[in-house]
């Protein structure tokens, strides 16, 4: 992998991880479309991707550091007391319930799922499906919105992230499993889960980002040490990870602002078009 390819992969990963357009799908499709010759089966490629993901997780931790301090404190307090009394404690337990089932299924079945659908062509089909999921969730959402009022007023009728039910949090968390299919977006399916559970768009995005942090960090932390036992260019890979983190930070700030009144529709349409175009070009 050349310097520019590594840096491009970092930028691509950071920019697409939080947008509901599937970073994994793009990481599989784009190198194939650009006819890049680096081997994705190289033993350092997976740890490299893991390092990029850690850049994203670090960006999310920085963005929500105040929330995370409260969540970690709330977790221990509520766990010992055996009762939830504050909003932070409730959010900590929501994230626990949203993370554990997905992590269990992911750890045991990720390999099998990834091997079955690792081709760029399969990723293009799943990217198309991701578009359908996003547009479908928005269609369901519109049915429950008040008509004849402004977007901001429409949004205010829905709930904040901390008010989601425990059952909805578990289902939303479990839906992350779908993102092991390259082309299906983890943030996309969790935002859709949040929207269907009655959250505001902005709050669904926030819940999705909070839910993503432990899973992204946990899943990738174990892969990184392999880089130290290889001849991989650590400086270049670290620079790519930093670039990934910066791109993720900017993306998250943009999305939180965008979802004050914005919808998932543009991303859904993009996924439909990009998936269909990639499917045709990759013949």
């Amino acid at each position: 992998m050349t310097t520019w390819q590594a840096l491009f992969m970092g930028l691509l990963q950071g920019a697409t991880e939080l947008f509901p357009v599937s970073s994994l799908g793009h990481a599989v499709i784009l190198p194939s479309l650009l006819h890049w010759t680096f081997r994705q089966s190289d033993p350092t490629f997976l740890p490299f991707l893991a390092l990029l993901h850690l850049g994203t997780a670090a960006a999310l931790l920085i963005l929500y550091w105040r929330e995370w301090v409260g969540i970690v404190r709330g977790f221990f307090t509520a766990a010992v007391r055996g009762r939830i009394e504050t909003a932070d404690e409730r959010m900590a337990m929501l994230l626990l319930i949203g993370t554990v089932p997905g992590a269990l299924v992911g750890a045991f079945f990720k390999g099998q799922i990834a091997v079955l659908f690792s081709s760029a062509r399969a990723a293009s089909v799943f990217l198309f499906c991701n578009g359908l999921i996003l547009l479908g969730a928005e269609m369901l959402r519109r049915r429950s919105e008040r008509r004849g009022v402004g977007r901001t007023e429409q949004e205010m009728a829905f709930k904040e992230a901390g008010q989601i039910t425990f059952r909805a949090a578990a289902i939303t968390g479990l839906s992350q499993v779908l993102a092991f299919l390259p082309g299906i977006s983890r943030s996309g399916v969790t935002m859709c889960g949040g929207l269907i559970a009655g959250l505001r768009h902005q709050e669904a995005a926030k819940f999705s980002f909070l839910l993503a942090t432990p899973i992204i960090a946990g899943a990738n932390l174990l892969e990184v040490p392999q880089l130290f036992h290889s001849s991989a260019p650590l400086g270049l890979y670290t620079a790519s990870a930093v670039l990934s983190g910066v791109a993720a930070y900017v993306s998250a700030r943009f999305l939180i602002r965008y979802f004050r009144s914005g919808r998932l529709d543009p991303y859904g349409v993009y996924c439909l078009l990009a998936g269909a175009l990639a499917f045709v070009l990759l013949r």
Binding site: A78, V80, I84, I97, A103, A107, G111, G218, L222
Partner: protein, 73 residues
């Protein structure tokens, strides 16, 4: 998850503790590669990802057990 003082179920609490024990034992078995079910590399000397996830599940079960136990009024 939330229960009022005086409510809760002793049986459910015990069930969660048992689930936590099962998860913890499985975590050890996976870590030392005594069990190879649903792993990506069956020849690996240990399966830390499976072990850590099971350990987190064990902690979650213990938390759930504490939530489920009857609380004094």
């Amino acid at each position: 998850m939330q229960n009022t003082p005086g409510s809760g179920s002793y049986a459910l609490s015990v069930l969660f503790v048992l689930a936590a024990l099962v998860c913890a034992v499985l975590a050890v078995l996976y870590y030392f590669a005594i069990v190879h079910v649903l792993v990506s590399d069956p020849h690996a000397h240990n399966h830390p990802t499976h072990a850590i996830v099971l350990l987190v599940a064990a902690v979650a079960c213990l938390v759930a057990a504490n939530f489920a136990r009857p609380k004094p009024a």
